[in-house]
Amino acid sequence: MKKKYLYIILSLIVATFIIYKIYNKEHVNTTTVASDVIIEPKELLNAFQLDEESANKKYLDKIIEIKGMVKAVNNLDKGGNIVLETGDDMSSVICEFENGSKISDIKVSSIVTIKGICTGILSDIVLTRCSIKKS
């Protein structure tokens, strides 16, 4: 009889733990997770400009690894972004960095490799939760 209660309590603890784990699931860490696509900024922009719908199907939510020239570095109140040159004056690739990322030491015109999650295109393509890939 006592054993039965012990099992019930034990399974309740396990269930709570699993629910807690799911509830506190961590965000995708682009530093450690493997890239789905490796592409140049120009090529990515071309795909979106040519056919946004099919580019969305192909790239949304994917981990994009992109190597390009830095056009601008913007430090915002929390986090910031690095803008990559595409050759098109109106459209770039904006790579968003979360709070605590060290992007201030990235220099304009330098070449960087960035990994981020593709969220689509407005005037620019936006990658979120980015990380700098060390070469």
């Binding site: 509830y23 961590e26 969305n56 999650i117 969220t119 689509g120 407005l122 005037s123």
Partner: protein, 184 residues
Amino acid sequence: MKKLSLLSLLIFTLNWHITAQKYFTKTGHISFYSETPLEKIEGNNKSSNCVLDLSSGKMEFATLVKGFQFEKALMQEHFNENYMESTKYPKASFKGQIENYKIFDLNKNDKIVGKVTGDLTIHGITKKVTTDATFNITNGKIDAVSTFNILVADYGITIPSLVKDKIAKSVGINVSAKLEPLKI
């Protein structure tokens, strides 16, 4: 002398052109806020586009739904998959007009409080929205700020009864855009 006056005329028209142009940002901050006694949910998007046409007072916003970042990954997943269906509707937008618009004088620092009315499209559904907005003009730049509430049911978003105590029926939306002249 003639050359000089022609030049000054050119500069004058150029200047006029510059003040009549569009103001915009690619790093507009849009956040939404849902608060119930059980749970506080906040999503932030810092790469929203905003354009203000200074000559007409027309405004446009566009944002990528998948670009909203949440504290918890699970909230972000539910927001995208269950409520906003962001794969089907990747963008949200607003197209509107500042009411009783008088062209902003960007040469002096000023704070202008007004109303903006327009069409808000979320989850593929468009509704008329009117909101108070503040425009702070400092050194030729415009900081546009607005806060308003929307009912999630208006945009065809249904909240399952299981979690109805955790998600507010009316969510607050904050918009903040630091607009700069669009250089062409």
